[in-house]
């Protein structure tokens, strides 16, 4: 029997495969047996509702997808009354992704979140004017927000890093110093798509966030860099499409992984990945996840 359990700080997961924020909604329960997942990260929410960006919000690139959603969400109150009670029925650890446009907003949200496995601090969305990536690119701000959130909550705090920072080791270190339990590496890469008919950027906000297999080597490299520079558990995220990608992330130094846009391509991917991961471990004589890295 292969033991897939993993511990990230005080968060205990039955396996290292989580669903990332911003890709799933409750209709996915018809496709995926959530009880089998390591956990899920809920769609990011802010203190007040955000209507999101004007369409178009998505387009495809080779082996990838670029989005400009803009954190559409119904705010903290709706999250507490509508989403969280439903999420708790999923039978898997819940990590809530929170977004603030100021340190005060982050603090207020963090102080009100209870009864979940952890908080993921979104300081890395590339598709909003305030907060998001503008916070996550600056190590000092990363430190201040992480510290402020950690002071407001007893829950484990995971900081979701932007790959668009000048130096991701520095922002990871800032999160660690601020008290983060772990970091998620990483959010989407800023990118541009031009509408050749209109002869201008496709998205109204010019850039979007690129995800999918196209970015996997880049995101994987970020995990590797952080692992070698900062003493903090890493949740790897970016372009995972099958179990081999999960293995690459784990070998590069991730403690767990998040699956994102692959569920658009194949809603059954999380369970297929888990089954194949388990099979590979068994075939390769691994009793647990630590054995993967043994040479």
């Amino acid at each position: 029997m292969v033991d897939l359990r993993v511990k990230i700080g005080s968060i205990e997961l039955q396996n290292p495969v989580l669903l990332a924020s911003g890709v799933w909604d409750f209709p996915y329960t018809k496709m995926i047996d959530f009880k089998r997942l390591g956990g899920v990260v809920c769609k990011g929410f802010s203190l007040f509702p955000k209507e999101g960006n004007p369409p178009p919000r998505i387009t495809e690139t080779p082996c990838g997808v670029i989005n400009s959603i803009g954190l559409e969400n119904k705010g903290l109150e709706n999250f507490e009354t509508e989403i969280l009670p439903e999420a708790k029925k999923l039978g898997t650890p819940i990590i809530v992704n929170i977004f603030g446009e100021s340190i005060e907003e982050f603090k207020e949200i963090a102080s009100k979140i209870n009864g979940v496995a952890g908080i993921e601090v979104n300081i890395s969305c590339p598709n909003v004017n305030r907060g998001g990536e503008s916070f996550g690119g600056d190590p000092k701000t990363v430190f201040s927000i992480t510290k402020a959130v950690c002071e407001e909550t007893e829950l484990p705090v995971i900081v979701k890093l932007t790959p668009n920072a000048a130096n991701i080791e520095e922002t990871a270190e800032a999160a660690r110093e601020g008290g983060a339990t772990a970091v998620t590496a990483s959010n989407t890469f800023s990118g541009l798509v031009i509408d050749i008919d209109r002869k201008e950027p496709l998205f109204k906000r010019v850039t979007g966030g690129l995800s999918g297999p196209a970015i996997k080597p880049l995101a994987l490299y970020n995990v590797y860099k952080i692992k070698n520079a900062v003493d903090i558990p890493i949740i790897g995220s970016g372009g995972i499409a099958d179990y081999r990608d999960v293995l690459e992330y784990l070998i590069a130094g991730a403690a767990a992984v998040q699956l994102g846009s692959i569920i658009f391509n194949n809603p059954l991917a999380p369970i297929e990945i888990l089954d194949n991961l388990k099979y590979w471990l068994k075939e390769n004589g691994c009793k647990n996840l630590k054995d993967i890295s043994k040479k």
Binding site: Y28, P54, P267
Partner: protein, 245 residues
């Protein structure tokens, strides 16, 4: 019915006017498909990465068809599938509705596909149908058999569908109207209907989609009540509610 995700073999790929009618065999999807439903179609690859939404064009007892117009990389590959090729199919998706026994359908180009499916749920009415060229007009005889009076127009031979809608606006009075076509066409029809004070009209809205399951929040359409997701609250919306800017 809950949507299912399956890998289905192509039963047939047949050229129909400038389009490709692709048929799949699947009893379950056929059993539960209703007016307003659509499916996401994906290829067995990571590139193209995203599935594409298609309304049903036809649903029979054990098979269903979609209509593909080549617009980009994904639809080009889809247009070339052959019998037996495996396609990822997620559906049925979307909010269903109960069409009236009689009503008016207005279609432009490939917008004919979902209204053709809708016509199968109705006893008759009028179809206003426009296309670029005469040879692009499809399914006209079939609409006749379904009890529809058909009025057509083409850009190469007379003008736009909006021209015939305007000309025969008196035929629209008191009827429920369903529109499927390009955004510009739908916008013009909205203004004609508004002039005629006809408000029982609905539009099929097309948006780029990521997942079809409201996970990605990509397919937002602006409405009087703010953004709504086409995959969840559409694809058919009351015309007066949607902003077609």
């Amino acid at each position: 019915m809950d949507p299912t995700f399956r890998i289905l073999p192509v039963l047939e790929n047949k050229k129909l006017g400038p389009y490709y009618k692709i048929t799949f065999e699947d009893k379950q999807i056929c059993k539960y498909a209703e007016c307003g439903n659509f499916v996401m179609m994906g290829l067995q690859a990571l590139d193209p990465y995203l599935p594409r939404p298609f309304s049903f064009m036809e649903v029979n007892e054990g098979s269903f068809s979609i209509l593909v117009k080549v617009k980009g990389k994904g639809t080009e590959i889809l247009s070339k599938v052959r019998k037996g090729d495996q396609i990822k199919v997620l559906g049925p998706l979307g909010k269903t509705f109960c069409p009236p026994e009689e009503g008016v359908l207005i279609a432009g180009g490939i917008g004919i596909a979902p209204v053709y499916y809708q016509a199968g749920w109705m006893k008759g009415g009028i179809l206003f149908y426009g296309a670029k060229r005469e040879k692009d007009l499809i399914l006209i005889r079939e609409f006749g058999k379904k009890g529809f009076k058909v009025r057509t127009i083409t850009e190469e031979n007379g003008g736009l569908v909006t021209d015939i809608v305007k000309k025969y606006a008196h035929e629209l009075n008191g009827k429920q109207i369903f529109i499927c076509g390009a955004i510009e066409m739908t916008r013009r029809i909205k203004s004609i209907l508004s002039e005629e004070q006809i408000d029982k009209a609905y539009a099929y809205i097309e948006k780029r989609m990521g997942c079809g399951l409201s996970g990605c929040k990509s397919c937002a359409v602006n409405t009087l009540e703010g953004y709504k997701l086409v995959c969840k609250e559409g694809p058919v919306f009351p015309l007066k509610e949607v902003e077609l800017g």
